[in-house]
């Protein structure tokens, strides 16, 4: 018995240890910095965006027969895992897809990605086409390390117009009006807000907006800059208290802490009429259109920027979200691969066909577009709303979990989940978060 017990045990524990030690090294095909000539690209899979990425790569390969980009596609979460371990092992792709901010900063500090500042200076034509707000998250210590690509996604307050008609209410113009709406919807058996609480970053969007409207973007800027005790600002306590008050007033749908955003259940609650409002990324529009049946085409989906907080100091034009998606060049790539990558950087999204394909799918590209280009799109109203919101915004703040380092972001998300669960008091939250500033 003894050896069997130990053997069985050790294999199990060893497997757990292997998980910690090795991670997923995965296949190295398509990766590797030593396949001369062809540059490699890893992108995210899944509709509606994967076909657009494929088409862009195909067009580039067709237009440049003497060079080649080999592309591989991964699911979002799987990619985030794989890119970390493969970069660490020197087997990453020559073009590193990322979300900018704190994640990019860890690549820069590890010497994994190239400085593109000079390249952008030499290719001013490329740089000028890109929306300036997108460069913020691509910049580390004053240097640009990534080319903004694809689309930007501010967080939008979506609402179900039919449900507002049902209780005879108007969309809220202030946070006070939101609070007034909560009991009205609850009285009719409708949840005021849908929320995918298990995903945690969905809860974070609430903290981001409420803090911004209450005190402006400066408070988080100080956290981001690593100032000691930056979370101790009274506006933070005020914001956190507001959130717990909203949770206690049943502002969020029952069972929100077990709902995930990956399954789009939070969005389904909105279009099935179980919840009246939803704070979510602008990409949700395409999902609701694809899965919500008649909901979006019938014009029942309303959208607006998060309303101001009464007496708050923040500018109500500010938005948070993803100011873009990013491609960096791996420092381990060969010179030939880097040249191909830079060539791709100078053309991607600048081509009309690629630009139009993103607009057509309901995305707002990170390139300066014209209203004429947007007007022709099938989702013109929404695209115009998003691009208008972004262009009027005084500050387009990057989502906190992406702006911070992965270590700090994990701590933030963990504490926010506990805040919504009423497991920690606002003061405990502040103390815990102050402890990891700058990590």
């Amino acid at each position: 018995m003894k050896r069997r017990d130990l053997l069985g045990l050790s294999v199990g524990a060893g497997a757990a240890a292997a998980l910690a030690a090795c991670g997923s090294s995965g296949p190295s095909n398509g990766g590797g910095g030593n396949t001369a000539g062809a540059a490699t690209y890893w992108g995210l899979s899944g509709p509606p965006s994967e076909p657009l990425r494929r088409a862009a790569i195909d067009r580039f390969n067709a237009a440049n027969p003497d060079t080649r980009i080999d592309a591989l596609y991964f699911q979002n979460d799987a990619y985030k895992q794989k890119i970390k371990t493969s970069l660490g092992a020197g087997e990453g792709p020559s073009m590193v897809f990322n979300w900018g901010g704190g994640g990019l900063k860890t690549y820069v500090e590890a010497g994994q990605v190239d400085d593109l500042t000079d390249w952008f200076a030499q290719n001013a034509a490329v740089k000028d086409k890109i929306i300036p707000a997108s460069f913020g998250a691509a910049t580390v210590n004053g240097k640009i390390y990534a080319r903004p690509v694809e689309s930007m996604s501010p967080i939008v307050l979506f609402y179900n117009k039919k449900l507002f008609d049902q209780i005879g209410a108007q969309p809220p113009q202030t946070y006070g009006e939101i609070l007034d709406l909560v009991p009205k919807f609850n009285a009719k058996g409708i949840a005021p807000f849908s929320l995918a609480g298990q995903s945690r970053w969905t809860n974070m969007m609430w903290v981001e907006f409420l803090l911004d409207r209450t005190a402006g973007s400066e408070v988080f800027d100080r956290v981001f800059a690593g100032e000691a005790n930056a979370w101790s600002d009274p506006a933070v306590l005020n914001t956190l208290t507001k959130i717990q008050d909203l949770v206690r007033a049943d502002g969020f749908i029952k069972g929100f802490s077990s709902i995930t955003a990956d399954s789009n259940a939070d969005q389904a609650l909105l279009y099935t009429g179980k919840a009246a409002m939803l704070l979510h990324g602008s990409w949700s529009y395409g999902i609701q259109k694809a899965t919500g049946g008649d909901f979006v085409p019938s014009g029942a989906l309303g959208y607006m920027n998060f309303p101001p907080v009464d007496g708050g100091k923040g500018d109500s034009s500010n938005v948070v979200g993803n100011p873009g998606l990013y491609l960096s060049i791996s420092s381990k790539a060969t010179d030939a691969q880097k040249d191909v990558a830079k060539k791709f950087f100078s053309t991607t999204l600048a081509e009309d066909a690629e630009f139009a394909s993103w607009v057509g799918a309901g995305y707002v590209p990170v390139l300066k577009g014209t209203d004429a280009q947007f007007a022709a799109a099938p989702n013109a109203d929404f695209i115009k709303f998003v691009s208008g919101t972004v262009s009027q915004a005084k500050v387009f703040a990057q989502s906190w979990d992406q702006a911070l380092s992965p270590t700090a972001a994990e701590n933030l998300l963990d504490n926010i989940a506990k805040l919504f669960q009423l497991q920690v008091s606002p003061q405990q939250w502040v103390d815990s978060m102050n402890g990891v500033i700058g990590k």
Binding site: A21, Q81, Q198
Partner: protein, 307 residues
């Protein structure tokens, strides 16, 4: 934890004639040994080595002595995760063992209808944990799940969003998945009991219940130890099921050691402290397995005493 340990078949002195066979048995252990070295021992040593370093998955690994250990041991998340792990371990043992023994005894009788039932009992064993978790997550969804679908308000609870209920659901799903496996072990163990024991007790006037407590249970003592070891050590490494069902939530109500390790290592990029947790997991597992073994006695007494 797919290792199946049948009740100890003890080999006494090896007759000289079978020395040839003895040599081939050594060879037969080789594949298991290689697997153990490659996938058990080497990663284990790797984790041990990593626990004395600081590493964020990307940058070069730096040796930093006890820094990671200090960070891991001073983190309030560690005692919490240990508590949750033991809570789930104990509750799932309490839930699984009686059911498994009863089903095992029931299925041990060679009756045809029981054979048919056995097939159904074993179905959960064929499914992957991830598939089971996704299915239960959908069934228990507070808004689109079985409760609201059938309009039964008793089923319409916040199953995975309430701290206490979430633990209960985990125990239920774990039991649903693993009771068939342990029933299978017990079924075999019960079938090994000589009929003579039951016949003799019948003559002495023992009833069914008396037979169960005086013959069946003592006779499957070693199987209970084996099955408990598998349950206890297995529950240390539960990951996929909890990760998909609750992701450690709500808040950190179901964050076990394995989840804490994953979160530290792969989400927060703190490989050093995550490796410390991995080492702690191994130590806890070894200690528990040894304790359970002690509980079973010296292991050299005869199970057939009086038979």
């Amino acid at each position: 934890m797919t290792m199946l340990a049948p009740p100890a078949a003890r080999v006494t002195a090896l007759p000289a004639a079978s020395r040839e066979r003895g040599r081939s048995i050594v060879w037969m252990a080789l594949p298991a040994l290689v697997m153990f070295l490659a996938f058990g021992l080497v990663p284990l040593l790797g984790a041990l080595a990593l626990s004395f370093t600081t590493w964020d998955n990307i940058s070069p690994i730096r040796y930093t002595g006890l820094t990671s250990w200090k960070a891991a041991l001073s983190d309030p998340g560690l005692p919490h995760a240990l508590g949750v792990t033991f809570e789930i371990m104990i509750l799932s043992w309490l839930a699984q063992t009686p059911i498994s023994i009863l089903i095992g005894v029931f299925l041990a009788a060679r009756k045809r209808y029981r054979g048919v039932l056995a097939v159904f009992y074993f179905v959960p064993l064929l499914l992957s944990s991830a598939a089971i978790s996704i299915t239960f997550k959908a069934l228990l969804d507070p808004n689109f799940g079985i409760g609201s679908g059938l309009g039964i308000s008793a089923l319409n609870q916040d199953w995975l969003g309430d701290s206490t209920l979430a633990i209960g659901v985990l125990i239920f799903v774990v039991s649903w998945q693993f009771v068939p496996f342990h029933s299978l072990i017990y079924q075999n163990a019960v079938r090994q009991i000589p009929d003579a024991l039951y016949e003799a007790s019948q003559i002495d006037g023992a009833g069914r219940v008396r037979q169960f407590f005086s013959i069946t249970l003592p006779q499957i003592k070693y199987t209970i130890i084996t099955s408990s070891t598998l349950m206890v050590v297995g529950s240390l490494t539960f990951f996929d099921l909890i990760f998909v069902l609750t992701a450690g939530g709500p808040g950190d109500a179901t964050r076990t050691l394995a989840l804490e390790m994953y979160q530290k290592g792969f989400m927060a990029n703190l490989m050093g402290p995550a490796s410390c947790i991995a080492v702690i997991l191994v130590l806890v597992g070894v200690v528990l397995a040894q304790l359970l073994r002690r509980l079973g006695g010296r292991g050299d007494e005869s199970q057939m005493e009086g038979a």
